[in-house]
């Protein structure tokens, strides 16, 4: 089987080389005056026409279609067969592709935190060469572009910022009566929460189950829970591993994060333990929630009067921080950060790569991130932050909040074996949330399970990964 693979790959690459050679004399030399988009087109043309196959979820693909159509018109590179699969299921399916070394998909649209695992499984094509040819650069807000890199190479093009921002109901916390009641009870002013403790005070004070109004809509299910936990943990100054790749969860900062995380049970809907986005997103937009951290795309939904009962009733801002480490620190999170990655085994990888670059230019992606109906692609590029279309969709305050959170955005674990690490933590947090596991045992148990994972994948390998992981962590305590 190995032999067969190699010979076919060599054959395909040889063929590709020939094609490129045939096309090169005809193409224009890349003028330095050409825009990034023009040079992407030129490079794509030199790769020749093809229909590229991919794995991508409908709600992401729908708003991309007009942009892809434009690319196809200019380059004859079109979309062929598509596996339509949820972003939460895609990582498992992509790994299954990787371990069977299948050339079936040319690109996969997936959580970028899968990059280390997929590179280690030998599946991903580095994009640096293509980016150089197309004169392309990921022009993201803050250090967000580094989220696409691993071991010094770039492996993905983002389509979806998916950064968490803070949502607080304006009509509730700016109501004079409420302000007075709050001040009377707590002896301090009611304002936009700055810390986790402040937020929970507000959530507790205003929640009223008899009116179906709950304090929070944070996700606490097994799959998404860790995303919220990392925000708290990072903001308390925690980091999950020491330099020797020993887990460092079971620390005061870790326990602090677990406690805050579990307290949410009091303010969240009683069914939160098994609820994901399908249940919580409608509740946010329909006005059943006081204050929550959520992906930025929900702002688009909230501000779309056709879909939402709370248009104009929200304040957007920086997610809460913590004083736990002695310094006030804020950490937002981006997960799943949907990005386009390219299959190394694909015979059409060049074409797929240029399509990805085309979709990843700030200018081209404006219509993608502003779709008011299919709101999964969220703003991420510098160019988005100044675009009127984007401001319309997210509201100017929403855009400001996105920009602020991007400056302190962190990934969840960025290591080979991401899914294993994530699910161990998710399972234990979920067990604690529903009362199957004492809160004090969560981190101990997770550390044990992580140690087993580390042993299996290899400590020395993961120590190398750790360098890339640390490179992604934000440097400033709070947005400038």
């Amino acid at each position: 089987m190995t032999k067969f693979n190699i010979s076919r790959r060599t054959f395909v690459e040889g063929g590709l080389g020939l094609t490129v050679a045939n096309f090169l004399p005809g193409t224009m030399p890349l003028a330095s005056a050409a825009t990034m988009e023009e040079s992407t087109i030129a490079a794509a043309k030199s790769a020749g026409p093809a229909a590229v196959n991919g794995m991508i979820w409908s709600p992401y693909l729908v708003p991309m279609q007009p942009v892809i159509a434009e690319f196809s018109k200019q380059t004859n590179i079109t979309i062929g067969a598509v596996q339509d699969i949820s972003i939460f299921d895609a990582p498992q399916r992509a790994m299954a592709e990787a371990l069977s070394r299948s050339p079936q998909f040319d690109f996969i649209h997936i959580d970028s935190n899968m990059i280390p695992s997929l590179v280690s499984a030998g599946y991903l094509e580095p994009l640096d060469e293509y980016m150089k040819k197309a004169n392309f650069k990921i022009d993201a807000v803050g250090d967000y572009g580094t989220f696409m890199t691993y071991g010094g190479q770039t492996y993905g093009v983002p389509t979806d910022g998916n950064v968490h921002i803070q949502y607080v109901r304006k009509d509730i916390i700016e109501d004079p009566d409420n302000k007075k009641r709050f001040a009377d009870k707590f002896g301090k002013e009611l304002k936009f929460p700055q810390t986790w403790e402040e937020e929970q005070t507000i959530q507790e004070f205003f929640m009223d189950p008899s009116k179906d109004l709950y304090g929070s809509a944070n996700l606490r299910n097994r799959a998404n829970g860790p995303t919220w936990w990392y925000m708290i943990y990072y903001s308390a100054g925690g980091f999950p591993f020491d330099d020797d790749m020993k887990p460092t969860l079971n620390t005061p900062a870790g326990q602090y994060a677990v406690d805050i995380y579990l307290k949410d049970k009091k303010y969240n809907h009683p069914e939160a333990a098994n609820w994901g986005t399908p249940q919580q997103i409608p509740r946010i937009a329909q006005g059943h929630v006081v204050s929550t951290q959520y992906w930025d795309g929900t702002a688009k939904l909230n501000e779309n009067p056709a879909k939402s009962k709370t248009t104009g009733k929200w304040l957007y801002g920086l997610v809460p921080g913590s004083d736990f480490s002695g310094k006030r620190m804020h950490r937002s999170i981006s997960s799943p950060l949907a990005a386009i990655l390219i299959n190394k085994y694909s015979p059409r990888k060049a074409q797929a790569a240029y399509l990805a670059l085309w979709l990843g230019s700030g200018k081209n992606s404006i219509p993608i991130v502003t779709d008011p109906v299919n709101t999964f692609n969220d703003a991420w590029a510098k160019e988005h932050m100044t675009s009127d279309a984007v401001k319309n969709a997210y509201s100017p305050a929403g855009v400001k909040a996105i920009e602020a959170n991007f400056q302190v955005v962190a990934p969840p674990i960025y290591l080979t074996g991401y899914l294993e690490f994530q699910d161990a933590l998710g399972k234990n947090l979920s067990e604690a949330f529903v009362g199957q596991l004492p809160a004090k045992d969560v981190l101990k148990k997770t550390e044990d399970e992580w140690t087993a994972i580390i042993r299996r994948i290899g400590q020395s390998k993961l120590k190398k990964d750790l360098v890339s992981y640390k490179a992604l962590m934000p440097k400033r305590l709070k947005p400038a």
Binding site: M1, N53, M55, W57, S58, P59, L61, V62, Q65, A81, V82, Q83, D84, I85, S86, D89, R93, A96, L99, S100, S102, Q104, F105, D212, T277, P278, Q279, Q280, I281, P282, A285, G297, L301, N304, A306, K307, V373, N374, T375, F376
Partner: protein
């Protein structure tokens, strides 16, 4: 207090109707819920309190899911790639072909068992193991094996495993029909000089054709609704309907229940029709010769 016999009978009968009707309502309510949701507007899918009737009923879910009607894409969740019709085609081809193979070869084996004892009774029961071992324990190596021999994500690949896993049912069920065919018919055919194959195909199988139809439809129910194997060994090319159903989650409405229900109705209704056609034979399919008539 003494009761006359007819009074007692009336009470028993009354109790019977009450119990059966309560269960009937419980059995039917979820099915009603799928159907009614498939006619609901998006605001009524997930509501507090729930809407029991679609008001007003809409065909939008069906139009969008099955025909990819674009006008809904502008205002509501829409699927991009118009897959359900393709999946319907895949499901039909895969289920029908594998079922056909299963019944054809199953009835031949059953004939051999009934007339020539090619499998002992113990072997016949061991055959059931193919069905009783959970498929989860073989999907991982199966998918790697299929990748290696190029059967992954092909209709043929799926047909082959469905054929394998439904064969025990086909053998057992058709055997119960063949056992009822009097041996004299075959002996007569043999005396007239018919070959063994002709006897099978021209005498025996036609005699049990209603039984074969029942077996066919019975196995169709199993192959049509299979989930786990299809989830693992199909990708872009041959997605079946049960797999298609699992990705209906919108970006804003959350899970798109109405669309999902419209698809679910399309998946379930054919199955119910098939089931109702063969309702008299269902017991035989499940009973492995343990129920005599």
């Amino acid at each position: 207090m003494a009761m006359t016999k007819s009074q007692r009978r009336r009470i028993t009968s009354g109790v019977r109707y009450v119990v059966l009707s309560v269960w009937g309502l419980m059995a039917f309510f979820p099915i009603y819920w799928i159907i009614s949701t498939s006619f609901k507007l998006d605001t009524q899918w997930f509501a507090w309190p729930p809407y029991y009737f679609p008001s007003p009923p809409t065909l939008a879910n069906y139009m969008n899911v099955w025909f990819g009607a674009e006008e809904y894409a502008q205002t509501q969740y829409a699927i991009s790639s118009q897959k359900p019709l393709i999946s319907l085609y895949n499901s039909t081809v895969i289920a029908v072909t594998s079922t056909f193979l299963s019944v054809l070869f199953g009835s031949m084996i059953a004939y051999g068992v009934s007339r020539y004892r090619i499998l002992s009774e113990a072997r016949m029961f061991q055959l059931l193991m193919l069905r009783m071992i959970p498929p989860i324990v073989i999907v991982a190596p199966l998918s790697l094996y299929y990748t290696a021999i190029g059967l992954i994500d092909t209709r043929f690949g799926l047909i082959l495993v469905y054929f394998l896993t439904t064969l025990p049912y086909a053998v057992w069920m058709t055997k119960s029909f063949i056992d009822e065919v009097p041996l004299e018919v075959e002996q007569a055919a043999e005396i007239l000089g018919a070959s063994r194959w002709r006897t099978v195909f021209e005498i025996v199988l036609p005699l049990i054709r209603s039984g074969l139809v029942a077996t066919f439809l019975f196995i169709l129910i199993l192959t049509w609704s299979e989930y786990l194997l299809a989830l693992i060994i199909t990708k872009t090319q041959v997605t079946t309907l049960p797999i298609e159903l699992s990705k209906y989650q919108g970006s804003t409405e959350g899970r798109v229940y109405g669309r999902q229900a419209a698809l679910a109705v399309g998946i379930t209704v054919p199955l119910m029709i098939v089931g109702l056609i063969i309702r008299k034979h269902l017991a035989r399919g499940f009973s492995f010769g343990m129920v005599r008539r």
